[in-house]
């Protein structure tokens, strides 16, 4: 088993404008914040706090990229895009195609210095997954951007007042007891790491996603449809070949409200597990759990101690929730 990671909620930011630049700037503001949502200190590059950088073209932000604190494979996570009329042709991860006024997201492994976001090698060297669409601003008027982080990855929610789409990525799979001591080169990197990339697609993420099906808008499921669909991938060991993943749970029955609490009525958080499309085991999602319905940005506490953060599909109504464990 891999060691437990700790999630933290950085907070939310209101984009100055519902544009690519406005949304990327909001994300950059969060990523460089000196405090967490609760006022506690945050130091980018230390603890759970990743390092965020920004690329501006003539003063207009076109890309922000993130480096996790723990980064032995020099993975860079990049959000990018261009305004209407933009003519850049970034490399997309098939089957998605490029579009303007849309936030795109991709990963680069074995990265060098930032090059250009629309270059086939955005970070000069290494391997790039290509981008997938993760938020279309023509159809999504954002109220807030939310950022969650741990030492090996992040979760971002692009939220309207009533819905959201999302992006979750990083070294977020524990392949099991074998991976830490005798990694299988066909499965994980030699140091036992697995990197996943999840893009919510440009459709709103379903707020009733606790089904086992691969719909177009489940939070960690893959759908083969282009652009609007949710894509969930695991990267090949040391490379960026993408394999689709499907999530399931440690229960064989539907996740009902009753099953989300214990006999005392306390929230019960159960770890999620992932399988490749086709059924091969991948592992458990690291400190991402099934739990009760909640609203995006809420916390679950025991006394004064926060135990988990609600990565919910509902900004304003209690909805199905991925709980990021503190």
């Amino acid at each position: 088993m891999r060691s437990a990671i700790t999630w933290k909620y950085v907070g939310s930011a209101v984009p100055a404008a519902n544009t690519v630049a406005g949304v990327l700037d909001a994300l950059y503001t969060l990523g460089t914040s000196a405090t967490y949502y609760d006022g506690s200190a945050r130091t980018p590059g230390a603890g759970q706090a990743g390092t965020w950088s920004r690329y501006q073209n003539g003063g207009v932000t076109e890309a922000v990229y993130y480096t996790p604190v723990s980064d032995p494979h020099t993975v860079r996570h990049i959000f990018a895009g261009q305004a209407s009329g933009g003519t850049k042709t970034p490399t997309m991860a098939s089957p998605d195609t490029s579009a303007t006024v849309t936030i795109l997201y991709g990963l680069n492994r074995s990265s060098g210095a930032f090059n250009a976001w629309d270059n086939a090698s955005p970070f000069t060297s290494g391997s790039f997954t290509g981008y997938s669409r993760c938020c279309a601003l023509g159809t999504f008027t954002l109220a807030k951007v939310h950022l969650y982080e741990c030492s090996v990855g992040h979760a971002v929610a692009f939220a309207t007042t009533t819905a959201m789409t999302h992006c979750i990525a990083g070294d977020l799979i524990d392949a099991g007891t074998d991976s830490a001591t005798s990694p299988n080169s066909a499965e994980v990197t030699t140091d036992g790491r697995y990197v996943i990339l999840v893009n919510g697609g440009t459709s709103a993420t379903s707020n009733a996603f606790w089904s086992l099906s691969s719909t177009t808008a489940n939070p960690i499921n893959h759908n083969t449809g282009a652009n609007t669909s949710c894509h969930a991938y695991v990267l090949s060991p040391g490379g960026v070949t993408l394999s689709a993943i499907l999530n399931t749970f440690l229960a064989s029955t539907a996740i009902t409200t009753t099953l989300q609490v214990n006999a005392d009525g306390d929230a019960a958080f159960r770890q999620m597990v992932d399988f490749r499309s086709g059924g091969t085991w991948i592992g458990r999602l690291r400190e991402i759990a099934v739990g009760p319905d909640a609203k995006l940005g809420q916390t679950a506490s025991a006394g004064a101690t926060v135990k988990a953060y609600a990565f919910s599909t509902g900004p304003s109504t209690d909805s199905d929730t991925l709980w990021l464990l503190a």
């Binding site: 970034p90 997309m92 195609t97 490029s98 090698s121 997954t129």
Partner: protein, 72 residues
């Protein structure tokens, strides 16, 4: 993923897809998909593909100009 380029070709209005010769066998499905969809798109294979560091990057072109890139 290569057959999905049929969708990308239609989206971008491409008339040519350039890819590495190493993808030739995988691209047979794409050729069939293009034919089935009635798309007149030429497949061009070059030794290393259009991106020197990554043979899985393909270019979609229209009248010789790059209109899209995909990693397959």
């Amino acid at each position: 993923m290569i057959p999905h380029l049929c969708y990308a070709a239609a989206e971008y209005g491409a008339d040519e897809i350039v890819m590495a010769a190493s993808l030739r066998a995988e691209a047979e499905g794409l050729r069939e998909a293009l034919t089935d969809d009635g798309l007149a798109v030429a497949l061009t294979f070059t030794p290393g593909g259009p991106h020197p560091a990554d043979p899985r990057v393909v270019e979609l072109r229209r009248a010789g100009a790059v209109v899209g890139r995909s990693r397959v």
